[in-house]
Assembly symmetry: C2
Homo-oligomer: 864 residues x 2
Amino acid sequence: MYGRYTQDLGTFAKDEAARLRLQEGDTPQPRHPSELLEYTQGRCGLCRVCALQCQRFLISKVGEDWVFLILLGLVMALVSWAMDFAIATCLQAQKWMYGGLDTNVLLQYMAWVTYPTVLITFSAGFTQILAPQAVGSGIPEMKTILRGVVLKEYLTLKTFVAKVIGLTCALGSGMPLGKEGPFVHIASMCAALLSRFLSLFGGFYENEARNIEMLAAACAVGVGCCFAAPIGGVLFSIEVTSTFFAVRNYWRGFFAATFSAFIFRVLAVWNKDEETITALFKTRFRLDFPFDLQELPAFAVIGIASGFGGALFVYLNRKIVQFMRRQKAINRFLMKKRLLFPALVTLIISTLTFPPGFGQFMAGQLTQKDTLVTLFDNQTWAKQGINDEFEYLGILEAWLHPRSNVFVTLVVFILMKFWMSALATTIPVPCGAFMPVFVIGAAFGRLVGESMAAWFPDGIHTDSNIYRIVPGGYAVVGAAALSGAVTHTVSTAVIVFELTGQISHILPVMIAVILANAVAQSLQPSLYDSIIRIKKLPYLPELGWGHHEKYNVRVEDIMVRDIHYVTLNCKYRDLQQVLHSTKMKNLPLVESAESMILLGSIERAQVGALLNTQLSPQRRLLALRQKVMPEDGHRLSDSSIRFQISTETSSGTPARAALRKPLKPALKRVPSSPADSPPAGSTDHTGIALKSLFCANAATEPTEVRACVRRKGGPLLALVGRLYPLACPMAPPQILEWEEQQLDQLVDFSSAKIDPAPFQLVEHTSLHKTHTIFSLLGLDHAFVTSIGRLVGMVSLKELRKAIEGSLTGKGVKVRPPLASFRDSTASTSEADTTALHQLWDRHQHHHMPREAGPGGDEDDDTPK
Amino acid sequence: MYGRYTQDLGTFAKDEAARLRLQEGDTPQPRHPSELLEYTQGRCGLCRVCALQCQRFLISKVGEDWVFLILLGLVMALVSWAMDFAIATCLQAQKWMYGGLDTNVLLQYMAWVTYPTVLITFSAGFTQILAPQAVGSGIPEMKTILRGVVLKEYLTLKTFVAKVIGLTCALGSGMPLGKEGPFVHIASMCAALLSRFLSLFGGFYENEARNIEMLAAACAVGVGCCFAAPIGGVLFSIEVTSTFFAVRNYWRGFFAATFSAFIFRVLAVWNKDEETITALFKTRFRLDFPFDLQELPAFAVIGIASGFGGALFVYLNRKIVQFMRRQKAINRFLMKKRLLFPALVTLIISTLTFPPGFGQFMAGQLTQKDTLVTLFDNQTWAKQGINDEFEYLGILEAWLHPRSNVFVTLVVFILMKFWMSALATTIPVPCGAFMPVFVIGAAFGRLVGESMAAWFPDGIHTDSNIYRIVPGGYAVVGAAALSGAVTHTVSTAVIVFELTGQISHILPVMIAVILANAVAQSLQPSLYDSIIRIKKLPYLPELGWGHHEKYNVRVEDIMVRDIHYVTLNCKYRDLQQVLHSTKMKNLPLVESAESMILLGSIERAQVGALLNTQLSPQRRLLALRQKVMPEDGHRLSDSSIRFQISTETSSGTPARAALRKPLKPALKRVPSSPADSPPAGSTDHTGIALKSLFCANAATEPTEVRACVRRKGGPLLALVGRLYPLACPMAPPQILEWEEQQLDQLVDFSSAKIDPAPFQLVEHTSLHKTHTIFSLLGLDHAFVTSIGRLVGMVSLKELRKAIEGSLTGKGVKVRPPLASFRDSTASTSEADTTALHQLWDRHQHHHMPREAGPGGDEDDDTPK
């Protein structure tokens, strides 16, 4: 990413904008008043003029950020509202079916179970067929994409459609699934699609950096319009997706999320669901005395318990996934019938929640939304039997069981929902885990609150006024704490304030969330990081809290030392050798093998192109022509040949063409082994892959495949010889001979594109600093140099291994046993001095009379 | 910053912690229960054991982040509470004095005016004498410090004391001054002092990166405990002080700010000020229908107007400062009587607010806190004359004037307070502008709200229920919008929610704040950036909102091309030359003047040390001894001399010593000209400064000063010769000769500390990318290379100039007229190819028979 000067499309955007403004300027502006006057007779005409003006104005503004953000917010609000509407309708239908069949319990059960099973199965099947990338939360993928890794297939229209429809069905089934994560993904896809759509009006949206910024804003929009929580949305998306956040881009998120949340709630008002814009789960706790100081230990207990619970949830979720993968017998059976697993899980869960069955002990008939509304309720349930203060019970009734008490119901609910949610979120449908966890947390908080209310019936405060304990407040605290623990975020606190519309419990919520985070972060990774690990996405893990020992690993401990490089004075044969022996995407270019001074890095594809050009049939034909008719008047000088070749190369290599279309989707799956996905075929595939690599820009000349294939030996050559009949007058042995000659020439790098400033680290750079630099600049590799000399390379892979501490494989050793006892100052300066000494000595050699045998780099100096 | 591998003290911290844990382990842990049983007879003994255990445990935990953060939070909460108490007492005293003298208006006036004048004058004088750095807000300085620039004097105990006492007096005077900015500064100083104090227990706190992280957390604590707003505090501090924020450090801010806010509010409960923990300015707006959808345009109007108002405030503030500086006559007079300006301003402002005088039209008798409480009031003032719903009036009465109406009072208040606040914040006392602006915004919002209430007496909503308009809500919106506009932050929205304890107005607040920010950011810099510019602090300004044209300036347009460098094969004379001709802190080290391959960078101090070592009297004496007694048995070989020198150099250079003490305060003032503050004297000062630079580690040998002085010519030499009598047997002419000889030797870099990976940019790196990299990595300079060859340098200064667009001075040209029309692709590849061609050709030369004259770098190869 760094140092490779991608062409700044801002220029183009600006020119385009200027052009459009000029066009706008061409329309006779001074005449507007008279024009308007002419049209005032017909209102329709006036409207038309206005519309025209608006249109022109809008098109000229299309390149501006705020237009994009408003459009994004608007679209996402509409999507969110429509989906909510569809989900509510689905749930209503189930309730209606279940209610209509109340004469026969068996029929009721069938209806209760079949409906979600069908929906989930449809959702799983639909997603599987249309776009398997739509499965799951999407936040892990967004985190990876915002890290700079391109997962193109994740941001396409197909995935968008699959995710929206799949999610609607999944949530409509009433399973304990969430919509937050998928919404982040949906909003990001929406942003990507919108930017592609808007780029039809001009090239404003082709700047990669800007697209990343917009995706970050889109994540905020996703959370914002899902919960109508703009501030919490921005903060949550930052915490969940970013490592380093540019404060410069802060406003984008706020702007878009606020607009989106506004439209989302306005739609609810227009639909007469609400009288005015209010919170989604509005609470009505008393304002004057929200909680007593002495209740704080109870809130702290909620926080700590939530921390353990959150870690357990992540652990359970991961174990279920791993179990399903490991059990080959089950796995094979399920893989054959891909839809069986979702159906089975749905069947189990819906059977258990069947209200006349076990569901009566766990408020099974309530939807997720109703559950939350009841849990955040203002009243104290424990006294419900005794007091008759309540005028209405309504949906609260679900929590009351005639032969049991509310504590039992809550405990059963928490326990059952816990494993159900952990299980349900592994179903291959688009779904998140935030909302189920949030509900469990609320139930746990309510449980603690009810216990406190039962313990202190008249409140703890012993002054004149009696302030009873508000269990609803505990529910809010619990919800924030558990969801914070699972996602490792603090901003769930802000989300609950915005969700409930009350901020009076700020201190208990903050204390509980921080404690929950502290506990959970020391036990398990966050749910999203856990999924990243399971899916093996190319992501750099975070350094742990104050793990000082990490600081003492240095780049020299983790770097790969035996790297392949290209020297400035190498021969084409060496290029071939390097291409054959390494899969690295970027090859370092050094001055010479002796000096090893790093001059830049060259892309693998460029090296391939160089080699290909050198052995191209055009050059062969030219050589032949020169040999055959040296007396020809049209003798082509060597330089003109080179010129011809270089222009050809610079215009047609596939690498370049790919570079120019940053967001163009390509049907490419995520590489299962991260960080080393070869850009265009690897050497493991035989000649064919190599051909596509080397011969892409001269596919009309089939014989040239030999240049690539000849290394593979005779049989393949013969095969090729049969496949491609001879098209040039050279016989195969001649060609081989000519190619051998060509390979012995020195490489002409003048036509290759070289990145003159690849990122460089020093041997002694600490792991901590390396991690910071990699995260900050979104690097995927860096060369390690010592006073200009290349000594090694570190890629994302090595870094990840070093951080995760699981080090196996080639040449990577981490943390030598004595690392922590190493006297860093001494070794640092010593090694430095040594390296410098060498360089200095090398230079001294030049000034001394040459007595000893020729030094390393003197080979270059001897004239040939 | 980057690439210079500062010794990681994490290692040391870890070892220390391990040691302490081992010590703890030494105490017989299994015996604890019996020990405890033994002591249970005497409770005192038990306590002692517990205390001992606690003490041991705490000491072993001292190195952990959370202990530091808790201590910081605790200390800051206590400071905040104590200051609030003192300020309240001061204000109470003024009120008491004013109230007690109600028999005589003149006496009343005298008391009303004298009291604040004395306090402000004392504050200004005290601050001026003790630590002038304590003046003003402190946020601009913190922004600069967090950017990586060391402003040491700003974080000392003296400044802390000056700021705390100065601020208490300033706020106790009742002037329209704020405490938020100073609190950020106080918290940061507190963190710096605390880390220095805790480092007495071990070396945990000497890691520079960690200190920066802790300072960022401290900023959050400052805001958090000032407003009891942990979330808003964290966000505000991020927005105001950071450019790129590491999400990794998020929890630090939240943890410390929450703890601090908690303690701060608990202290209020213990002091019986409050019954329980609630918001600082609690509002009681109705929950069920906070506002109507149709009121949103009014909120938007508040936002836009606040945007203009905020920009005007920043403009006014800056103009006042500039006016005061420019008017030399006034300036000279005021400089002489430094305390006259504060006294004068206080006199004017307090005269105008005198309640029986003009103050009666602007609620002059209310303190800032009372003003806010009344403005956020639940009731509608406009109807106050008509309705008699009100039971109490209390402090609200101040807003009602018998012969005027509340609109007039509000308008007068806003207008007067506006210029008063802008003027008052220029007084040289510790003070911020947030709170005054916040109050003005609240008044403006209240004005709009009251107007709306008068316009729609029964609310806008036309359904069955009548929901009246709540002007208090408008006041909240106005406060957030204006303070957001002045500071360019969105998080003021969160701060008002936490301050008022209600979040029901979230959408209006967000809309208004975003609109205000949009307007203000397009008109003026933020108040803090404005102060940074006025004070000329070395800070990198932000790139504007979507200023695409900035993207098209490249490093080659702004870099300094004629830089001075050190070559690997240079002579000491060249070093001297370079030191004489440039003030750069870091000199590039290149391979040779012809190849210009950048090998690293060397600090100026190191170059000085090298030169000094070469010309040191020790070496001269050695040389003399060798010359005098060549037959001596103790003949010292050249290598042993060098060895001796190099050990000496590496242990005693001032640069190294300074590096090891990152937070050690030094009595150094802020450099008035930014970015090029010389590290240890500049060449402008004659021999003496040079002496201190070069001869620091051999001060016992006075004659060596000649080595530095001889360039200055004869008179100085003669002077020195008189000052320092001869201490070595060489005569001055001999010394000169010897030194000339020495200067002609090649430099031995083996003892110098070289940064082997200084940050490198490419010529074509865009300004946008350069800015990002500089901000991210906290660089203050970067070398520009072209395929390993040094071609220029960019420092913070050039970058700042390029961004601000005001380009004057040596060799810096920005944005050539045709920059925007330049075809970037073509020129890029062309220039690249050219550069590479040269390098390639250079190498080709070696392989060709030498026909032409010797090439550039062949000078090195010819044996001497």
